[in-house]
C-alpha cells in the first residue's frame, strides 16, 4: 500500500518556554523542536503497513525551513520520500486552512491510506486529520490505538479510545484517514545506515501556486481563527512552594502533610 503520513514539527514540550516580544506566540529562538509525539507513532504505523504490504511511505509536512529536519528524520527511519509544503503563505493557518493545503498536496497522487497523529502538542486542535478526510471524501477515525488492514487493503479494523478506559472496535472502508494515538506501537530509532541514506532521498518542495491554490485560502488568510495573544496561566493561586535543599524541603513538606493537610 502507498501510505502518506502527515507529521508536524512542534516545540519540545519539556523545554523552558518564553512568550515572544509581540505576545502572540512563544519565542522560537533557541527553542528545540521535535516531531509531534502522536505523529511519530503514525509514522511507525505507516512503515509497518508499507513493509507488510510491499508499499512505501511518503511523509508530508508544512512549515518553515526548520521542518526539513523533521522530514529528514522521517526519511532516516524508513520513509521513501517527502513532500514539504514550504511557502510563507501557508503559515499561521488554523486546522481548516492547513487541512486544505495538505489535501491539495495529497490529491496529486493516489494514496491507499493517509495516517496522521491525533493531536499536535503545540496548538492541539486535534482536527486536521478529520478535516483532511473531509476534503478527500474518505472515512476517518480519530484517537486510534489499534489498526489492522483487511481484505487486501479494502477495509481496516480500527480500535479507538473512548473515555473511562474503554476502546471501541469497528470496521471502515479504505482509503481512509486514520488519526493515530500515542502508544499504538513502539516507534523505531534511525540506524546509522538510515541516517546516511536519508540524504539521498528526495524532499519535494511544494508552494501554494504549485498546488493550484489561491493564497487567501491557506495560512492565516484562509483561517477562521487567529491567536491574538498567549500567556502563562496566572500564578499565585497554586501550590505553596517549599524551598531549601532536598532534605529541608522534604522535611517541611512532611510537616505540612501531617499538621496542616493531615493526610499522612
Amino acid at each position: 500500500m502507498k501510505v502518506a503520513v502527515c507529521i508536524k514539527q512542534v516545540p519540545d514540550v519539556e523545554a523552558r518556554l518564553r512568550v515572544a516580544k509581540d505576545g502572540r506566540w512563544i519565542d522560537e529562538e533557541d527553542l528545540s523542536f521535535v516531531t509531534n509525539e502522536s505523529d511519530r507513532y503514525a509514522l511507525e504505523e505507516g512503515l509497518k503497513i508499507a513493509e507488510a504490504t510491499g508499499g512505501e511511505v511518503v511523509v508530508v509536512s508544512l512549515g518553515p525551513d526548520r521542518v526539513r529536519d523533521a522530514l529528514k528524520k522521517a526519511l532516516a527511519v524508513g520513509a521513501a520520500r517527502a513532500m514539504f509544503l514550504k511557502d510563507p503563505a501557508f503559515s499561521g493557518g488554523d486546522a481548516i486552512a492547513t487541512a486544505r493545503a495538505l489535501a491539495a498536496a495529497i490529491r496529486r497522487e493516489s494514496f491507499d491510506l493517509v495516517l496522521t497523529g491525533s493531536q499536535s502538542d503545540d496548538v492541539g486542535y486535534g482536527s486536521t486529520g478529520s478535516l483532511l478526510a473531509g476534503h478527500l471524501g474518505w472515512p476517518h477515525a480519530w484517537l486510534v490505538i489499534g489498526l489492522e488492514i483487511e481484505a487486501g487493503g479494502k477495509t481496516a479494523q480500527v480500535k479507538r479510545e473512548m473515555e473511562s478506559g474503554m476502546n471501541e472496535i469497528f470496521r471502515l472502508n479504505l482509503p481512509a484517514v486514520i488519526e493515530i494515538q500515542a502508544g499504538i506501537n513502539h516507534p523505531r530509532y534511525a540506524s546509522l545506515k538510515g541516517i546516511m541514506g536519508a540524504n539521498k532521498k528526495p524532499i519535494e518542495e511544494v508552494t501554494v501556486a504549485g498546488l493550484g491554490l489561491e493564497a487567501e485560502t491557506v495560512g492565516l488568510a484562509g483561517s477562521r481563527l487567529e491567536i491574538v495573544s498567549v500567556a502563562f496561566p496566572e500564578s499565585g493561586t497554586g501550590a505553596q512552594i517549599l524551598t531549601g535543599d532536598a532534605a529541608t524541603a522534604a522535611q517541611a513538606l512532611v510537616l505540612k502533610l501531617r499538621q496542616e493537610a493531615r493526610v499522612i
Binding site: 509525539e37 478535516l131 478506559g165 517549599l242 524541603a249 499522612i264
Partner: protein, 330 residues
C-alpha cells in the same frame, strides 16, 4: 446570513441530560447572551423523548430532536448527516459541543460539511469592544492562548469539561418547544461497529486508593522507579502514572491516570515529574491534597497542587522517603 442564536448539541447519558450536556447548555446560553441571541438545543439519538422534555425546562428558544434508529449508536456519518442539513438551514452563530472523545471525532468533519469555522477546546470567553475572545490551552496546558474568530458564518466550538459550570444553566419560564429536525435523509452510518473492549478492566483499581504516588515523563526512565517504590512503600501508597510513562512502557497501562485512564480522588496525590497536561489533570484534580515535585516552576501541575517542591525529582525522592519514615517512626 447567520443569525445570533447559539446551538448546544447535547450528549445524553442513558437517555438523561448529563452534566456535560448541562455545561454545553450553560456555554450556549452565555454565548447567546453576549451576542444578543438565544440558545437552542439539539439532541441526537433513538428514543430521546424524555431527555428532550428534561432539556426543554431550561431557558432555550427550542429543543430540536433527531430521533432515528441509526442514531442509537454513534457513527460520524450518521451524526453528521443528522446535524448538517439543520445547521445549513438555521445558520446559528455558534454550535457548542462538550469536548469529548466522541465529539472530537465528528465535529471537525461536521464543520467541513457545512463550511463552518472550528474552535476546539475552549475554557472560557470574554466579550469586549473587539468582540469575543476565547481562551484555550496550548503547549500541553503550559500556556493559554486568546483566540478571535475571523470572517463570517457559523463556528463550531467545543468546551473543556468543567470550564462552564452546570450550576449556571438558566431555567426557562415556560417549557421550550420540542421540534423534530425536518431532514434526516443524510444520515449514513459509515462504520461497522464490532464491539467494545475494556482496557485492563480487572487489574489495579486506583480509584479506591487513599494515597497515590504518580510518576510522569520527568522521572526519566523505567529503570529509575526504585526510589518511587520506596516512597510509595513508606506512604502506604499505590503507584500511578501519566500517559507518556505508559506509552513508553515504563509502567503497565492499568496504572494510567487521566482522561484515557482512571479517574482518581485520593486524599493525597504526589505527582513526581508530571508537568500537568489537561488530559492528566482531569483524572486527578478531585484529590484532596496534591503535592507536585517538578524541575520546571512553570509546570501547570503547580497550579492545581497544594504543596510544591521545585527541583530534581531524583534528589528529592530519597530525602522525602527518609522524612516520611522519620515522621511515621516518631
Amino acid at each position: 446570513m447567520s443569525n445570533l442564536n447559539v446551538w448546544a448539541v447535547l450528549q445524553l447519558r442513558d437517555g438523561q441530560v448529563s452534566r456535560a450536556a448541562l455545561e454545553t447548555i450553560a456555554a450556549a446560553q452565555q454565548l447567546a447572551a453576549a451576542l444578543g441571541g438565544k440558545a437552542e438545543a439539539v439532541i441526537l439519538g433513538s428514543g430521546v423523548g424524555d431527555g428532550a422534555i428534561a432539556a426543554a425546562g431550561r431557558d432555550l428558544a427550542a429543543v430540536h430532536v433527531a430521533d432515528h434508529a441509526d442514531l442509537a449508536g454513534y457513527t460520524p456519518g450518521a451524526f453528521i448527516g443528522a446535524l448538517a442539513p439543520a445547521l445549513r438551514a438555521a445558520q446559528p452563530a455558534f454550535v457548542v459541543f462538550a469536548h469529548t472523545y466522541q465529539t472530537v471525532d465528528y465535529a471537525p468533519r461536521l464543520a467541513h460539511e457545512v463550511g463552518a469555522g472550528l474552535l476546539p477546546q475552549i475554557t472560557g470567553f470574554t466579550s469586549g469592544a473587539d468582540g469575543l475572545l476565547f481562551s484555550r490551552p496550548i503547549l500541553g496546558g503550559k500556556l493559554q492562548a486568546k483566540v478571535k474568530v475571523r470572517g463570517e458564518g457559523t463556528v463550531i466550538v467545543s468546551i473543556q469539561s468543567g470550564a462552564f459550570s452546570s450550576d449556571s444553566v438558566v431555567a426557562g419560564s415556560v417549557a421550550a418547544p420540542i421540534l423534530a429536525l425536518a431532514d434526516l435523509s443524510e444520515i449514513k452510518p459509515d462504520r461497522e461497529i464490532l464491539g467494545l473492549e475494556e482496557v485492563g478492566g480487572d487489574q489495579i483499581d486506583l480509584t479506591k486508593s487513599e494515597i497515590i504516588v504518580a510518576v510522569g515523563r520527568g522521572i526519566g526512565g523505567g529503570d529509575k522507579l526504585g526510589p518511587v517504590e520506596d516512597l510509595a512503600k513508606a506512604l502506604g501508597a499505590e503507584i500511578g502514572a501519566s500517559r507518556p510513562v505508559i506509552d513508553s512502557g515504563w509502567l503497565p497501562r492499568d496504572r494510567q491516570i487521566g482522561s484515557s485512564g482512571q479517574t482518581v480522588a485520593p486524599k493525597l496525590y504526589v505527582a513526581l515529574g508530571i508537568s500537568g497536561a489537561i488530559q492528566h489533570l482531569v483524572g486527578m484534580k478531585a484529590s484532596t491534597c496534591v503535592v507536585a515535585i517538578n524541575k520546571d516552576p512553570g509546570a501547570p501541575i503547580f497550579a492545581v497542587a497544594n504543596y510544591g517542591i521545585v527541583g530534581d525529582v531524583h534528589e528529592i525522592l530519597p530525602a522525602l522517603t527518609a522524612a516520611v519514615k522519620a515522621a511515621k517512626g516518631a
